[in-house]
Every structure is written in C-alpha cells, then in structure tokens.
C-alpha cells in the first residue's frame, strides 16, 4: 500500500452533516408492487393472452345475453322448421344475400320453377332467391334429341315450405279466424280438393290446374288456372274472415272431417299465429326446431358454470388431499398415492357411464355427471399441491413457525399453502377448458343427456348437426365455431395467466 494519509487529516476538516436534526431513511418514492399486481402487469404485456381474454369475455357475455335477447325460448321446438338455415325477415327483404334462409337446389327443371312461381303467386312470399346457373342437357328420347334446361337455384327454405295441411278443432278454427281479422294476416287459404288436381293429395302447395304428373297447366296468357273448391257442401265450418284476392265469396276455406276441419295453412303465417312473431333465426334451427343462436348460449352457459363448479370442487379436494400427502409424507403419502393411482386408471367413459346408470335415477343426471368429474378430476390438483408442499415444508420459515409452537394444521394452511397458491390457482384456468372439452364429448356421444335439464348443450347441438352435415351445414358450423373459439381463448388465457404468475419467468421477457 502507498502511504496512508487518512490518519493525518486535521480535525477542522471534518464537519457535521447534521447536528440537530434526526436522521431518517428517505421515504420510498416508488410504489410497492404486490405479487398480484405484478402478475397482472406481466399478463398485460402478453398481447395474445390479452386478446384471448377479451374474446373470452365476449363469448361469456354471449352465453349470458343470448338466451335473454333471443326471441325464441330454448324449450320452444318447432315441428316444421327443422334444420332450417339462418333467416331474419328484415335483412332478407333487403336482398343482401345473407340471413335469407337460402338453400341450394341443383338441377331443377322448368316445371319445378313454375311450382316456385305458384307458391309466390298464392302466398305473396317468393321462395326463389336467384338462379345461380343453367345447364343445357341433351338426351335421346325415342330416337329424337331432346334438349332440356336445368337450373341450379337458391330458394328461401322458409317460404318454400309454403302451405301445409293442418287439422283443427272448431274452436281452434274460430280462434285463427279471429286472429286473422285482428291482424289482417292470411293464415288459412282456400281449400283445394285432391279430385280437382289429378288426385294429388300430398302436395298442399298445388292450387292450380295440373296434369297427372303434377305439372301446372297454364292458360293461353301463361297464367295459372285456380282450382279452388267452391263446393259448399264439403266445407267443415263457417268461415267469415279474410278472403284471398279474386275470391267472389264462394271458395271454401276448410274441409269437413269427423269433429274437426282440415285446412290449407300458410305455415309462415301460421307460425306467426302460434308464436306471436315471425320466425327469425339468426343461426338457423337444429334437428328439434330449436333456435341455434339461443341453444349455443344456453349450452355455453351450462358448460361454463358446470366447469367452474367442477374446478372449484376439484381444487378444494385436491388441495386438501395433496396437502395431507405432501405435509405428512412417508406411508401416508404412499397410501394416498396408491388410491389416486387406482382412481386415475379407470377410463373416464366408464366412470361417467357407471355413474349415470347407478345414480342418475336417484340424484339426477347433472349431479351424477358432476360426481363422475369429481371422482378423478382432483388427482392432478392433488399432485400439484403435493409438489408445492414438498418444496416448502423443509424451509427455514416452517421450522421457525414450528419452533414457535404452530400446529400442523396452521403450518399447512397458514404457512405453506399460501406460498403455493399462485401456481395452484392458475392451473385451474387450464382445468376449465379441459372440463368443457370432456363435458362436450360426453354429451356429444350421448352417454349423458342433459337436454331435459339444460335445454341443450353444445355437445348435443354438435351431434345433431353432425347427422345433417351435408343438408344443413349451418347446424354444426356455428356451434363448432363457438366451441373452437371458446377452447382456444381459454387455453391462451390460461397459458398467459400461468406465465404471469410463475415467478421463475419474471424479467425473462424484458
């Protein structure tokens, strides 16, 4: 060392920094940031998780709101509008090509186009949306070449249904007449006797002269010739209500059957009579004639509540079980682990089935389904808790607490558990989509039928849609989109949450 001059500093060089004041540590200028707040900030930096959380919020909002705002109750089923495409009257009328109940019909010939025109002419609701394509088809017939044109058309399924036969009691018949007078909407159309239309008794949409094949016979101006019956002797009941234009008062509107009347009813307007509104189905209808828009909401609501309930129960059981395992260790741990091993070995399908078969009649379908989930669902949570306990139980602060006389229970739940709770709770965010997935699979496979309890579920909707995937793809499309989005968002959100709460990744991403 060089020569040290410190000892030779004269005393007058020294001055007091402070003489009469008290010395304090400076107050911390920065704000203290808790564990939770820190995790939230780090979660906020993960853009994809934030977006997922927002979409998830919207989906949950949908599940809450859709059943409320949907005009159709989920218990309401329709017998005619089954697997019908999306349709909203006010938007369909604008002709934007969406929500117009459109269905494609390929290779239609001239006479089927004529039948469409007839429906439009009688009911005022034109089923033909547009002709997409026309093909010239040549065939050899009796040695001559015949060229026909076939059309690929788009039709409005709701209007295309047109008129159906319905049998009413006299009272009902009167009520419909009263409703017609009140609203001015024509429900009942003049009766056509099958004898007048070449004996065709299964096509109520024919109201004009036809040949034996059911093709329209037009007059010289190209107009339909009405074949309405004016045989007053056959009329089933009195009719004093709206008459269609061109009716001189002689047409009959019902046909007498024993104790009731048979009518030709425009189903679209009959639907309005029955339900007090037009059929507006934003996402179409399913195989039971339920509104899919409402059905997805109802199903999702059930799924989410059910999944949260299952997760909460499993979390509680798993936490206790894992706590006991991890804290006591030794043979307790061994024994409990063996039990968990055995339970986790039983296939989930078998568990669900057995619970349904044994318990459904006694405690109800939903509780027995819940038990099936609880029976094996807690095992993962227990393993997680056990790991956390092994991590913390040997540390000094536990020893200190024990020295101070803390009981086992206090050590477990006041000292160790809070340290592990972050990772335990965040794993719950990943358990929820797992439960939703299994629940959907089980209802999809039909092992559990929740329709009577929840109205419908996403799994049920998907399985109904899958049966008609070619003719009504919308019935499976919308539930699929919803479920797919829900699962993706839940997983992204859960991953983000897990990373945010995991202290070991702290500061890594910066």
């Amino acid at each position: 060392m060089a020569e040290n001059t410190y000892e030779k500093i004269p005393a007058e060089e020294f001055a007091f920094v402070q003489e009469n004041d008290l010395l304090h540590d400076k107050e911390l200028q920065t704000k203290a940031r808790g564990f939770f707040a820190d995790a939230m900030i780090r979660f906020g930096k993960n853009k994809s998780s934030v977006i997922a959380a927002i979409i998830l919020g919207l989906l949950i909002l949908y599940a809450i709101v859709a059943p409320l705002i949907s005009p159709h109750n989920i218990r309401h089923t329709d017998v005619i509008y089954i697997n019908y495409p999306p349709f909203i009257r006010s938007i369909a009328d604008k002709g934007w090509g969406i929500l117009n109940g459109a269905k494609s019909m390929d290779s239609q010939n001239d006479s089927s186009l004529l039948a469409l025109r007839a429906i439009a002419e009688e009911t005022g609701l034109d089923p033909l949306i547009g002709i997409k394509d026309a093909h010239e088809v040549s065939t050899m017939q009796k040695g001559k070449k015949v060229t026909r044109t076939t059309y690929d058309v788009e039709i409005n399924a709701y209007y295309f249904k047109g008129i159906i036969y319905r049998t009413f009691s006299y009272d009902e018949f009167k009520r419909i007449q009263a409703w017609q007078d009140e609203t001015g909407i024509q429900v009942i159309y003049p009766y056509v006797e099958p004898a007048d239309i070449s004996g065709i008794a299964d096509n109520p949409n024919i109201w004009y002269q036809v040949d034996s094949k059911g093709n329209a016979v037009l007059d010289e101006n190209g107009n339909f010739v009405p074949a309405y019956s004016s045989n007053a002797a056959k009329a089933g009941a009195e009719y004093n209500s709206l008459r269609i234009p061109g009716d001189d008062g002689s047409y009959i509107y019902s046909y007498g059957r024993s104790g009731s009347v048979q009518c030709r009813v425009l189903y679209y307007n009959y639907y309005r009579y029955l339900n007090g509104m037009e059929p507006n189905y934003l996402m179409g209808t399913n195989a039971l004639g339920q509104d899919i828009f409402c059905g997805i909401g109802v199903g999702a609501r059930f799924s989410i509540i059910f999944a949260i309930l299952v997760s909460a129960i499993n979390l509680t059981i798993g936490a206790f079980y894992g706590a006991v395992q991890g804290y006591y260790g030794g043979w307790v741990d061994m024994t409990l682990d063996r039990i968990a091993d055995i339970l986790s070995g039983v296939p989930f399908v078998v568990v669900t089935t057995l619970f349904q078969l044994h318990l459904a009649k006694r405690v109800g379908i939903v509780p027995s389904f819940l038990f099936a989930f609880v029976l094996t669902g807690w095992i993962g949570m227990a393993a997680l808790t056990r790991r956390q306990f092994y991590r913390f139980k040997g540390q000094e602060f536990i020893l200190a607490a024990r020295t101070l006389g803390a009981s086992d229970r206090r050590l477990m739940f006041k000292h160790i558990f809070p340290n592990g709770i972050g990772s335990i709770i965040t794993s719950c965010a990943l358990v929820i989509p797992g439960v939703i997935g299994s629940e959907t699979s089980m209802t999809y496979l039909g092992i559990v039928d929740l329709s009577s309890f929840a109205g419908t579920t996403i799994g049920t909707l998907l399985s109904q849609g899958n049966a008609v995937v070619t003719s009504a793809p919308h019935a499976i499309l919308y539930p699929s989109i919803f479920l797919g989005l829900l699962m993706i968002c839940f997983n992204l959100f859960g991953n983000g949450l897990r990373d945010a709460f995991n202290p070991s990744t702290r500061g890594v991403e910066d």
């Binding site: 089935t353 989509p433 699929s480």
Partner: protein, 317 residues
C-alpha cells in the same frame, strides 16, 4: 433395472385387478335387461347367467369371471347386441378396424410432428416458429369433432374426394378401404402432430440453449453436427417414451372419431354396448381400455428408464 421393471409391472397388474374388480361389481349391481321370452337365445343366455353365478355374492361372481377368462378365454356372451355370440369373438372382430386406422394415422404423423417441432425450435422467434406454434396451439385447443366436421364437409362433401363413412367388410388393405379410411385417419392426425410438435419444440429449445451445446460449438462442431449429435439425442429422451405410449394407444383409438366416420371398431362397440345395456361387452371394453391406459403409462415409465442414463443409475440405489 430388471427389478425396477418387474416392480412397476407387478404394481400395474395389481392396480388393473383392483379397477376391474370395482367396475365388475358396479356393473353386476345394475339390473339386468329382461330377455325376450320365447326367443331361442333367451334360454341359452338364462342358463349362461346361472353358470356365471348371477345370484351368488359379487366376490364369488368375480372369481367365476376370472376363472372363465383365464382358463377358457371366456368373457361371457353378448346378450343384446350380438345375441348369444361370445364377447371375445365380437371384440376381436372389431379390433382390426380401430388398430389400422390409428396405425395409419401415427405412422405419418409422428415423423411430421417431430420434424415440425425441430424446425420451429431451430427457427425460434421467426415467423416460421410463430406460425407453427400458433397452429399447434389452435389444433390442441380445438376438440377433434370440430375438425372432423371440416374434413367431412370440405373433403368428403364439397370436393367429393373420399366417401363419407368407412367402408364395411374385412378387406383391410384394399385400395378402396384405404381411401375410405383417409378422413378418419386425417381427423386423428391433427392432434398427434400438434402434440409431438409442441413437445419437440419445447424440449429442443431448452436443450439448444444449454451449456453443453456451447461447449460442442467451441470444440469445433458445426451447428448441424452439434444439433444432431447432442441436442436431438437429448430431446429424444422425452420424445421416444411418447412414441411408445402412442403405439400402445393405437389399440384404444378415439370414441368420437370412430363414431363420426362410422369406423367399425372397438369405440363403436363400447358405445353400442352402453346404449343397449349389453353388460358383458361393457365389462370387456372396460377391462380393455383400463389395460391400455395402464400399459401406456407403464411403457412410458419403463422406456424413460432405458433411455435416460440418469434414471437408470438412480434406480440402482
């Protein structure tokens, strides 16, 4: 090592028997569906029920059941679905369809999955990685019936490339059969690809940043050499047990995919048995699925021991 394998195996067998006993008793406790009177099979089945000890205590029934299974491979008769036929016969008839569909699926998906995972890990934090990781995440999250629907609608209906459901018959390796299997195979494949891709990527990115890789580079290996000889070998410690597990899993198959594409396999049989209350078939299915699940776990455990020297050394203590 041998002792470890033996221990694990014996333990699994014990667990299997306990599960079987539990399920057996629970299934036998269910009320039996009534037999149609006057049917020729009814009498046979009623006699069989008597012989299976339906009126004796459950443990005795289980003993009779086990004796039948182990001495005569007798799993009982199918009562509702295939009236009077032995369950084992029906079951073995259904097994090939499940196995072949799953085998086709994993044969091409495991290499593809691992390759994609490696690619993503090597190009970490580039658009390649982002694309692959995002797709993997999406495929893993979305349940299989959603893309089964897409395959059915787009490939089978719109483009008319494949038939809608699997062809019947037992000509397992004919071209027509193969073509009819493609949709089911594809639907099964997405999940497997995504699973392997995710594991591989996670493992490999971790290994690539470890210190022995730096050492390998400093001693003069090229990046390719270091990756193939050191990084991949290490990440296969995790992947190979997964492959073994997957191979055991081909027996089990997927209930949902089998139902959507009408694969005449074990899954369909199980579902039918549940719906028709054919309990002898259901017991067989239960044992089968339990055994597969346990065997897959066992194989994964043991293969870890064989592949990873660290575990092998640890077990000798």
């Amino acid at each position: 090592m041998f002792k470890y394998v033996l221990q694990r195996t014996l333990y699994m067998i014990m667990v299997f028997f306990i599960i079987t006993l539990m399920c057996f008793v629970l299934i036998r406790m269910l009320p039996l569906p009534a037999l149609p009177p006057g049917d020729i099979h009814s009498e046979v089945i009623a006699m069989r029920r008597e012989a299976m000890g339906y009126n004796k205590p459950y443990l005795e029934q289980f003993a009779i059941f086990l004796r039948g299974v182990f001495t005569r491979f007798d799993w009982g008769l199918s009562e509702q679905l295939y009236t009077g036929r032995p369950v084992l016969e029906v079951f073995l008839e259904k097994l090939p369809a499940t196995m072949i569909v799953n085998l086709y699926s994993i044969l091409w998906t495991i290499p593809v999955g691992i390759a994609l995972g490696i690619w993503a890990a090597l190009k970490k934090n580039t658009w390649v990685d982002y694309t692959i990781s995002t797709l993997t995440m999406v495929v893993i999250s979305v349940p299989s019936f959603v893309y089964a629907f897409l395959i059915q609608y787009i490939l089978c209906f719109k483009l008319r490339l494949f038939p809608f459901v699997m062809k019947g018959g037992t000509d397992w390796f004919s071209p027509a059969m193969f073509r009819s299997m493609v949709p089911a195979v594809l639907a099964l494949s997405f999940g497997v690809i995504a699973g392997f891709c995710r594991t591989t990527r996670a493992e490999l990115t971790e290994v690539l940043t470890s210190e022995f890789m730096l050492l390998a580079r400093t001693k003069g290996l090229t990046k390719t050499q270091a990756t193939i000889r050191h990084a991949l070998r290490n990440c296969f410690v995790v992947i190979v047990p997964g492959i073994f597990g997957e191979f055991i899993g081909i027996l089990g198959g997927s209930l949902i995919i089998e139902r959507i594409f009408s694969v005449p396999g074990v899954g369909g049989l199980t579902l039918n048995a549940i719906n028709a209350q054919d309990y002898n078939v259901f017991i067989m299915s239960t044992c089968f699925y339990t055994a597969i699940g346990l065997a897959a776990g066992l194989v994964v455990d043991i293969s870890y021991g064989f592949i990873d020297p660290r575990i092998r050394v640890g077990s000798k203590k």
